[in-house]
Symmetry: C2
Subunit: 247 residues, 2 copies
C-alpha cells in the first residue's frame, strides 16, 4: 500500500460542495468514483485538508489516499486527469510517507477572496469573482485587517452552527491586494472555522463602505457573538488557495 498526496484545483460552480452527499454532485464524490474505476470497483477513500462549501473554488486543495497500484506518479496524474470531469484538475501528485495526513498534518492554510469593484457587470467572471461595485475606503480596511491578525477567539466570525468548541485560531497574514478590476483578500492562518473567511470579508466590506469603523474589530472579537460581525460574503469569490505542511 502506498500513500499519495495530490494538489487539486476545482471550479466550485457546479458542485454541491467538496464533501460527498447522496444524490449530489460533489468533488469528493467525483474523485472517489474515478479512483474506484481505476481500482476495478474497489472503494478508495480520500481525505482532504478540509471541506469547501457549494460554489467555493479551490486552487490548491490537498487530498491523500492509499492505493496498492504500481504506477509512476506521472502516470497517476495523466490517468486521473483523463478520467476526471473538466472542472477538477490534479495539479501535482506525489508518493508520501504513511504518516502524512492531508488534514492533520496541515500547518497552515491560505484562502483568497476575489472582488470586482468595477461598476460594469462582467459576464465572464460572474462565477469566479464577487461583483461589489461600490466605493471602498481601502485605508480603513487595511487598519481593520491589522486588528484581526494574531491569535483570537473567532466565535463572532464563524457560523452560529459551528460545532467545534475551540474557536481560537491564529491569522498570520491578512492582506489586501489590488488587481486589474478590483481587490483580492489574502488570508493565511493555522486554520479557519466554518464560514470564517466569508464573514471576515463581509465585515471588511462593511468597514470599507463606512457602515462600521475600522476599530470595531476588538469589540466584535470580545463579544463572541456571530450577530456582532458583518454579513457572510457569497461563496463564488472564495478560493482555498494553498495548504502548507511541515517538510
Amino acid at each position: 500500500m502506498k500513500r499519495f498526496k495530490c494538489i487539486i484545483s476545482y471550479d466550485g460552480t457546479h458542485f454541491a460542495g467538496y464533501q460527498i452527499q447522496p444524490n449530489k454532485r460533489t468533488v469528493q464524490g467525483e474523485l472517489e468514483r474515478v479512483l474506484a474505476n481505476m481500482h476495478k470497483g474497489e472503494a478508495i477513500r480520500i481525505i482532504a485538508s478540509g471541506r469547501t462549501d457549494a460554489g467555493v473554488h479551490a486552487y490548491g486543495q490537498v487530498i491523500h489516499f492509499d492505493s496498492p497500484l504500481h504506477l509512476p506518479t506521472d502516470g497517476w496524474k495523466k490517468a486521473l486527469n483523463a478520467m476526471l470531469p473538466d472542472d477538477i484538475a490534479i495539479r501535482e501528485i506525489q508518493e508520501v510517507d504513511a504518516s502524512f495526513h492531508a488534514r492533520f498534518s496541515a500547518v497552515a492554510k491560505e484562502y483568497r477572496y476575489k472582488i470586482r469593484t468595477a461598476v460594469e457587470r462582467d459576464v465572464f467572471s460572474r462565477h469566479y469573482v464577487y461583483h461589489f461595485p461600490y466605493p471602498l475606503d481601502y485605508d480603513a480596511i487595511k487598519q481593520a485587517l491589522q486588528l484581526v491578525k494574531g491569535t483570537h477567539d473567532f466565535t463572532s466570525f464563524c457560523s452560529a452552527k459551528t460545532e467545534i468548541e475551540d474557536r481560537v485560531r491564529t491569522i498570520y497574514e491578512a492582506n489586501l491586494l489590488f488587481t486589474d478590476d478590483g481587490v483580492e483578500f489574502q488570508w493565511i492562518g493555522d486554520g479557519f472555522l466554518y464560514n470564517m473567511v466569508r464573514i471576515l470579508v463581509g465585515t471588511m466590506l462593511e468597514i470599507g463602505q463606512g457602515k462600521r469603523k475600522w476599530d470595531c474589530i476588538p469589540s466584535i472579537l470580545e463579544g463572541k457573538d456571530r450577530r456582532l460581525a458583518g454579513k457572510t460574503a457569497p461563496p463564488h469569490g472564495l478560493y482555498l488557495w494553498k495548504v502548507a505542511y511541515d517538510n
Copy 2:
C-alpha cells in the same frame, strides 16, 4: 419610435449561438424575450452586427432595435440588465439616428482568440480560453500573419457551407499578443466569413507547431479550397471583441 444601439457582452458557453432557434437557448431569444416583457408582450425584433456560433463569446457585440417607450438611456440599461440572465450584459446603450443599422452600418470588426499554452490544465478558464499546451514557433506565426493581412479571397478560410458568393475580405490587423498564460490573436477586418477566424487560428497553430511552413499562406489563398487550410479551432477561445461604425 426611437432607435437604440446597444453594446452587449455575453458568455457563449450556455447558448446554442446568437441567432434565435426554436426550443434552444440563444442570445437573441433571451434579448427579445426581455424586450417583449418591457413592451407588454409586443414583439421587438433586434438586429445584430452578425451571428456568433454556439460557445463563441462576445465582449462587444452590437445590436439595434426600435421602441416607442420613453425612458432615459440609463433607465434602459438598468431595466435590461436587471431582467437579462447573468450571462448577457448591456455594456452601453444610446439612442441613434433611424439610419443606423447594426449590421449594414458596421465598417470593421475585431475578433480575439485566446489560447492557454501553459502545460497545466486550468479549471477556471476552461470555457474562456483554448488550452493548447504545445510549443509554438511564434516567429513563424508572425510571418504567416503578415501574409493573411490585406485584401484576399478567403474561400479557403471559410466553412465549405458558406453560402455567400463574394468571399473577398480585407484584414487590417492580424496580431499575436502575449498574455500571462499564453497568447491572444487579434483580428481586425472589414468583415469575416463563416468560421473564418477559427480556421485562420487553426492554421496558425499548425504553422506554429511546424506542421506547415509560414509561407504556405499564398498557395492556400490561391487554391480557394477549404481543404487546403488548417483545422477549425474550437469556439470557446473566440470573442467578438468590437464592432466599429462610421461616426
